[in-house]
Symmetry: C2
Subunit: 336 residues, 2 copies
């Protein structure tokens, strides 16, 4: 059975295709009688008419489709929330959004054989040749650099501020010799570099030596090795900032295996505030990012860019917060 077209609807309702198009697209103002209008709508419904997106795109010369290209990160709550908000904002502007999980296996160009899009949003920068090819095909290209949530005008992105907050928190507790537990996951390298850079910068500003950086994979052996290195240093490390909460949990396990007490011997602070952080023993201090605030800001920037706004929206104020728990709390003081 052939596809139902607007001609079928026109025939079934006794009007021309012009009228069908006007009725179904809400054009033509009041020039079409209520009776005609109803007949057309009813016929379309009865026949299960779905307009051809290809024909419409070809005729109007524009597509209402926005494509979001995901980088090779593990998809977490922030990206998830971002996609949800982005879909919603674009829908409010009459656009539909789809997501490409291509993992850079194939050239992006292959996609253009299958679909026309109005704009492409990348969460990480595109390869220069891909970007150029898209622009030449008349596609708007928007890319958000990893971690630059505070916007290109701001001195520090959210990722850097994360590292800064960890160090400032530990320094405020009196720690002078810090360790940094880096991630072993290569996929998040861009974030990792920024977080560590923020920690380094904060150390410099506070007059501390840079943190002793050790990679910590998510297993006990790796954590124990890092702990030994930190404790063998002179002066010995008394506090560790970790790339994220999972790495911090590994550090806690390593400290316990080495017979060290937390926070008395070594304090620990993570990033993300995953559920396991709250439930760890001792409960993990961490830098929480407001997923929703972050996602909304990214979306606001992308939409402003898409609409050609002159200025970027102001960066959010309340993005990051240190959640103080037991791994950095002075013993016997439940309030600080």
């Amino acid at each position: 059975m052939a596809r139902t077209t607007s001609a079928d609807v026109a025939r079934a309702s006794g009007v021309s295709r012009t009228t069908v198009s006007y009725v179904l697209n809400g054009r033509g103002g009041s020039s079409i009688s209520a009776g005609t209008r109803e007949r057309v709508v009813e016929a379309a419904r009865r026949l299960g008419y779905a307009p051809s997106a290809a024909a419409r795109a070809l005729r109007t010369g524009r597509s209402d489709l926005v494509l979001c290209v995901l980088p090779d990160w593990p998809i977490g709550p922030v990206v998830d929330s971002l996609l949800e908000h982005l879909t919603e904002e674009l829908a409010a502007r009459g656009m539909a959004m789809l997501v490409h999980h291509g993992r850079d296996r194939r050239p992006l160009a292959d996609l253009w054989r299958a679909v026309d899009v109005r704009a492409v949003v990348g969460l990480a920068p595109f390869a220069p040749e891909d970007e150029q090819a898209m622009r030449r095909a008349g596609i708007r290209v928007l890319a958000t650099a990893a971690g630059a949530v505070a916007g290109p005008g701001a001195a520090e992105g959210a990722q850097m501020q994360t590292g800064r907050l960890q160090v400032e928190h530990l320094a405020a507790r009196g720690h002078r010799t810090l360790g940094y537990a880096a991630t072993a996951d290569r996929r998040v390298e861009a974030f990792a570099e920024q977080r560590l850079a923020g920690a380094r910068r904060a150390c410099a500003e506070l007059g501390l030596a840079g943190p002793r950086v050790e990679p910590v994979a998510l297993d006990l052996a790796a954590a124990v090795a890092a702990v030994r290195s930190w404790r063998g240093a002179r002066p010995a490390v008394t506090a560790v900032a970790a790339y994220n909460d999972e790495v911090a949990l590994a550090v806690l396990a390593g400290l316990r295996a080495e017979g060290l007490r937390v926070p008395q011997d070594v304090a620990v602070v993570g990033v993300d505030d995953i559920p396991a952080a709250r439930l760890a023993v001792p409960a993990l201090t961490t830098v929480a990012q407001s997923v929703d605030v972050q996602a909304r800001h990214l979306v606001a920037r992308l939409v402003a860019d898409l609409e050609g706004a002159a200025e970027d929206p102001a960066p959010p104020e309340d993005l990051l917060a240190v959640v103080v728990r037991e791994t950095t709390r002075p013993v016997g003081d439940p309030t600080r």
Copy 2:
């Protein structure tokens, strides 16, 4: 500047549009001279020619686009891996895949205004009216029921087997009175029901009473309440199966807060083997799912369906495994 079309390429290389199409699509066999071929390819490259997907779809009457619609779950490693494999498999068949993160906010129908697709893959069943509308528009509709990894022909899906394995493991350790820590996250209800059903079925087969089910949100207070209920029962619960590892970590925190020892007083088993499970104190026994095996099987089923194969591929053998750690290990016995 207007978009580059095949006519531009034809003009620039001194041939007709027919020839351009033949060269660029590899049709026309050997009837086109190597020189002509090269001139066309070179002109296309120089002009940055990208064929109009809309025009091609309209003319050929078929789209090479497959749409994957995600349900309202938190997107974890399994779905992530699934999408990656699906993209790859479809690409090998000349199709491109895009993903819709729409969260059911708007009717799916809105998407068809923006894009033509050949098939739609749903990870959860579609609403009947959506499904009917898509079929009437000539779109293949494939849906995978949540948890039915073992296929519709099998008696138990992977999710049910998960609950069964937990119970069988605890029973083998001598436990006769079991608790079940249910999730408080409504989004995963479909999984939760299946996992619990599997646990119940295993209890029945082993001649045990059904597990005492308590909901456990991811905070200490909720966990403590559940622990008190389990321990106040007569006979008291001596082992708890949790919906997943996060819930299990909450249970561990609740047990510790109540002064109970693990595993001596209460044993605990989770599902998923997240990094925090391995790093918990005591380390958490859990049912690990092979993300890769699961994703590949789902993809195999979808592809078989898409290609109209007569039979479903055989369910994977090695999908689930109990990873025994300290929370269920007899004290003083490091091997069992």
